[in-house]
Amino acid sequence: MRGKQYEQKPSQAAVAHESVSSEQPGSSPGRGTHSQETEDMHTEVSGEATESVSATPFREAVAESFSGAPLQAEIEFLVGFDPSRAINEGLPFAATEDYNDLLPAEAAEYQTPETVCGRDDRVRISPATAVPWRWICQLIITMPNGAGFRGTGWFIGPKCVMTAGHCVYSSANGGWARKIEVIPGMDGAARPFGSAVGTCFRSVKGWTSSADPNYDYGCIILPAPLGNSTGYFGFACLSDASLTGLLLNNSGYPGDKAFGTQWFNAGRTSQITARKIYYMLDTYGGQSGSPVWRLCNGQRHAVGIHAYGGCPNSATRIVQAVFDNMLAWRNL
């Protein structure tokens, strides 16, 4: 059974989570081979490296979010965050009074993070215990060679935390991560939902075997259903038309801010390709794996997995094959 699918009417896709959870993990494309020592822990999904372009009509697909228990009020706009900038970000350039705020180029050098695009209007999320912030997790990654990294993840199911492929698998550092500590809603020293250590990961061969940025996504399967306390994101596979100019949200744990603090930004898509979504939202190292989502009729659907900086910054797009894998992983 496939997930509920809707053609060009995502706002009408108000299906219950239960209809999604009936998906069977084994329904995903064939499993790939992997190293013997990790055979019971990690899996690459082989279909994602070799899929061909489908000739069938594009169909949008949506899996709904779960707010967790207890329910708390949602935050639409944040104090200190100017939504008008986000609404205009990514639109064709127009001269504004912002020119008055520009620093001389030489003064800005080395001060402005390069993946913060233009004026840094990131806003701190504190506390991070409300929806959707508590769905988002600080990741503390330990690679097989002992190297430590920080990243961001987000719940899509009770045990499943989505992130970038390079957060769970780094060939430069020995392959699959040794362990990743997942801390939802972290806010400085506060760990309102505790934490869990994952040692079981998923990605696709397009990343683990080919290092192709178009396939840079994966997930952490936790040993306990921490997502039942926090809730989790829905996600959606949207058409080019639906993504073009779409207002996007992103929040994660950047490395240039105090450790364990979550920061939000928003803006419009600037370019869409077959496998990537580009935008001028401000991000920074440490936000790899963070969710890129739309807020529509009170529902939050991730449409991409943030992974790359460079202005425009970019996310791995949730296309149908990614969506199908996420559905399977959500239920592990």
Partner: protein
Amino acid sequence: MITLPVVIRDVMETWPLQLRVSLGSKFYLVSLWEDTEIRRGGRVVTASILVPGQRIIVYGRVSSMGVGGTDSVIADVITVPDG
């Protein structure tokens, strides 16, 4: 030890960063570590100056044979030429 004059193709936003770089037609995955030093114009700068399209020189260690014909390097020092 290895010295690679390369062009940054992609900046992966873990912290520390990971890079996908190219030398001619060959691609490398470069991992920065906490103690990787970035130098520009004789000064030590933060890794946030690294952007796609930039020419850099990576001094590091070959980590392992990478994937898909992509070698992997752990960077000890990265220099960003002026200009």
